[in-house]
Symmetry: C3
């Protein structure tokens, strides 16, 4: 990243936000309210951090309309979505470095690869036969691009990632370090006293503007493809099994596992360490909170949860024992209700 | 993979299945009922997909004995286990490409390595001193084989996998991309105000026909070895800690973690994201469903579960609060039962 | 590792433990009681393994003060913490091999790197511009060290690990195979119909004597840094998100995920597969048992748990259904109590 600087008026214009106060001030960086210096811009999205406004040294703060700025010295940018404007200003001030085209002397690029002139292949990377790599791509150090992989323009593949046989990536896809795209799916047929492999003949298709986290694994399909829609953002250490489809703009936090053939809708929000059984259908617009256990279809948008929040171990032990007795407790409760009903009826006679 | 083609009669003979209808038809591929074309063979294992039989364009379908084929045009192969026959035909039609022997110019093979003439070492791979690599092995791009590792015949190590110091692999072992075999176990002794490392002196021993998933980690033993039995199939992102033993033909889905010194029996089926405490003994033939929390020995075969299925968050919040009160609720229930008993006794006087 | 040998008296002196019996015996190795041979030393820390004392062939055993050694033939070292003395003797007998300085011919070290004369860079490793690597460091095969990374003395980076742009490591840090330090944090701003990336401008700062497990991921901070304190030990496949702070000497088992900006205290013990929500504060000295779900601050030291232990699936199904009815059950219980109270009052009239 390199750092640029802009006047506040320029930043307001570039982000369609409304300036209050002087627009002459030059802004060099972004920072949280607590640590911002006099050349920085900051933001307030959550009113619970309002107290920091009084103490910030920021030159300017991005505020929502409803938030009064009267008592403060800083300049103000007004925005409906302060965090989004903050993100955009952060990108303006810290543009991603241009790719320096070329193939490092230590990289290994097979004959017949179609590599854009403007792409770069860094040290120790491998590009297999038949691969196609688009304009301004950056194939990072130690990356393996397998045979016949197709990578769109402006993709970044970070250190030691593996994108394997036949995977197809759209434009502006970011594969983080150590991620594995297109590994063999986990398919075995039971043969009495052993398991036999089922050939995994499909591939992985990833849309535009997708991000895949560090050490995440996306398996190739068994017959059809594993599909990740445009705009999906997937965090680190996520498992996406063969034949899974993930709809556009769905976001998935770290540690989540999605079993084979499950289909997740568009615009879903999936917390960390959520587990999905296989062959499920999840509607558009579903949110799962962290560690949810998803073992049935979810046909309607909404927020879903499961799990037991941590508590002192002594209390937990007691409750966990009772959990096993829950059905019995429910039956006893029912029995008591009937007995009570009888008692009442008798009393009323 | 390359694609071959066979007549249906040939496929029936090769898989010991029973042909009904013409055996002359040439089969080029396998596909699900819904997407099969007129040169494909498909299968029905689960009666709930029976409706697809009426619409499939497949040339032939593998059916269980009980399933009527009367109304349909396709040829039929009869099998006790249609999915297994399907898997076998898929392998016949899509044989794994032969290994092209040789060491890529960019690979680094230490002096004194014993590498079979028929093995290949791909681009940027590293093979350390004293390693032994069997016939027809494929050491993929970017793979690191550590010192004194012994690899049997017909193994595949996929891109960027690491198989480290002293690990011993049987024949036909498949290590998927990014997997780490033989990393140092997690052993520390508490020394009052800090932790001190306990040397991890053992190694990893893997049997024949084992598959280890992408980015899965199998630690080397602290004194003895970590052992994975013949025929085990382990999915992506699984943790196998030091000194764990896994019995033959056990299958483990993604995200599962097995803590140190736990022993898992033969022919177990372990769902995704299951957690095992350390030093446990799990019998042969045990199944755990996904996200099960295993904190005690399981001395008997059977199916075991835990966890709470996801539900609407509003409902979940109420139940989760009550979970903490479960023991108290149980005591109140007992008290009520006693009171009711007294009431009854009095009424009966 | 190479193996040395010492007399028992020497080992007692080196570890401040008290010798009982002959000190002349030469000790070559460490081993568990069950498998120790006549040149080995073993230990008893947990009285439940006492039965093994009668059968061990070990030359010597490290015992706690309270444990009688009367009936046995072996020599004894007395120690308050037998496991710690065992760990120290194991390290004395199995010292880590000295680093052989030098850069492997196949490695790629950028111009301007400051690499200590005593460090080594192994095959196919990459060291980026501006990196600084301390004395006696071992940069393993296939490792990527990104630009401007600073690595202290005596660090080990194992096979295929990635330590990226600007990360700063203290002394004696051990990064296990495939770990990713300094990958981009997971930060996106919602922009109505898509997500936009928030630049991740911070880095990762790791203290002295830290261990980071295989395929673990530690993201760089969004504005400030992600910080891991001195002496922390982190197992495999752990996720440490951006801006997380982990206090000194905290130990974290495999599979745990820590969401963004959460702060964990010093001397905490975190079991396997624990999940932390973001923006939490966890006090010093907190223990979480495996699979705990941490969604609130924990201001006090203590032991905390959650989750449901695995049980036969048939029983589990019944309890899981009842869990959803828990709030209703609690209300019915309350109603019964009131009815019972009325009945009693009436009876007492």
């Amino acid at each position: 990243m390199t750092t640029e600087d802009y006047t506040l008026a320029e930043l307001a214009a570039l982000t369609d936000s409304r300036l209050e106060g002087s627009g002459e001030r030059r802004i060099h960086g972004v920072a949280p309210l607590e640590s911002a210096g006099p050349d920085d811009i900051s933001f307030l999205a959550n009113p619970k951090y309002r107290a920091h406004l009084g103490e910030t040294r920021a030159a300017a703060v991005i505020l929502p309309d409803r938030e009064s700025a009267e008592p403060y010295d800083f300049s103000v940018l007004r925005a409906d979505n302060p965090y989004l404007v903050f993100a955009r200003i952060a990108r303006i001030l810290n543009p991603v470095a241009h790719v320096v085209p070329g193939v490092h002397a230590s990289a290994s690029v097979a004959a017949g690869v179609r590599l854009a002139d403007t792409a770069c292949v860094e040290a120790q990377a491998v590009v297999g036969e038949g691969a196609v790599i688009g304009a301004r791509c950056r194939i990072g150090p130690g990356v393996v691009v397998g045979e016949n992989v197709v990578i769109g323009d402006d993709c970044r593949l970070d250190a030691n990632a593996s994108v394997l046989d036949g995977a197809r990536l759209g434009a502006r896809v970011h594969i983080l370090p150590g991620a594995v795209i297109g590994g063999e799916g986990f398919g075995f047929a039971h043969a009495g006293d052993h398991w036999e492999p089922v050939p995994q003949l499909g591939s992985v298709v990833i849309g535009d503007d997708v991000s895949i986290g560090a050490n995440t694994t996306v398996d190739r399909g068994s017959q059809g493809d594993t599909i990740i829609g445009d705009g999906c953002k997937i965090d680190n250490l996520v498992q996406v099994a063969h034949n899974v489809h993930i709809g556009e703009h769905t976001i998935i936090a770290s540690g989540t596992g999605i079993s084979g053939s499950t289909r997740i809708g568009r615009y879903c929000t999936i917390g960390g360490s959520v587990g999905f059984a296989g062959h499920l259908e999840i509607a558009d617009g579903v949110t799962f909170t962290g560690m949810a256990m998803v073992i049935g279809n979810v046909p309607e948008a909404g927020v879903y949860s499961s799990g037991i929040p941590a508590m002192p171990t002594r209390d937990w032990r007691r409750s966990a024992v009772r959990f096993r007795q829950l059905d019995e407790m429910a039956r006893r409760l029912e029995k008591l209700e009937k007995a009570m009903q009888k008692t009442k009826e008798r009393d009323e006679q």
